[in-house]
Symmetry: C2
Subunit: 124 residues, 2 copies
């Protein structure tokens, strides 16, 4: 179900974090749903359990999921989730926009770039 690019320059645990956020954002994962266990997920994805654990740990620090020893890891409740996901991705937009602004690119050009991305076909 989840595909990782093991050759990519972006770390595996970052890719995994993003995939989970994506599934949460589109509703494929719902609040309080249980995620695969660290060991099973690692086996299914063909990676090391420590790498899954690192992704889970960071997602927990960010309020996206919560983990309980002996029980498992679960998506956060709705209230936390929406806020965290939005904040997470809009921060990146803001950072990239700040760079463009610093370099003298006009607001309308940036807005047009955003619009263009939303006009494109969804490649999910």
């Amino acid at each position: 179900m989840i595909k990782l690019d093991l050759q990519s320059r972006t770390p595996i645990y970052e890719q995994l974090k993003h995939k989970i956020c994506e599934l949460a954002a589109i509703g494929q994962l719902r609040p309080n749903d249980q995620l695969p266990s660290v060991r099973n997920f690692a086996r299914d994805l063909g990676i090391n359990p420590n790498t899954v654990q690192k992704a889970y740990q960071e997602l927990e620090r960010e309020g996206i999921i919560y983990s309980v020893t002996g029980k498992g890891s679960f998506l956060s409740s709705e209230l936390d989730l929406d806020a965290q996901l939005h904040q997470k991705y809009l921060q990146r937009i803001a950072q990239a926009t700040a760079l463009a602004k610093q370099c003298g690119i006009r607001e309308q050009v940036v807005v047009d770039t955003v619009r263009k991305v939303y006009e494109e076909e969804s490649q999910l």
Copy 2:
């Protein structure tokens, strides 16, 4: 004049590349202006000449500057420069936007985020 954060997680040569692009974009550096020599720049910034060289090499591959052995490194001519700078930073915007879109964030929310950045005080 140029300040680098040697403790940052973003590589020094990336920071240096961005600073040079920034100076070019705001007109502080003009087409065909000569940049500091690899060795002088490294000494002034308190970093290794190889790090400056790496930044210069990548900027040359990207068409932002050009270098001539024995003479020095110079900002590209105007035609190349605008196109390269725009492409460079708008690509980042597009990538960040694609992530937000993938995660179900609405177009208007992204556009509002961009607008907000442009409304803020300039911190140059």
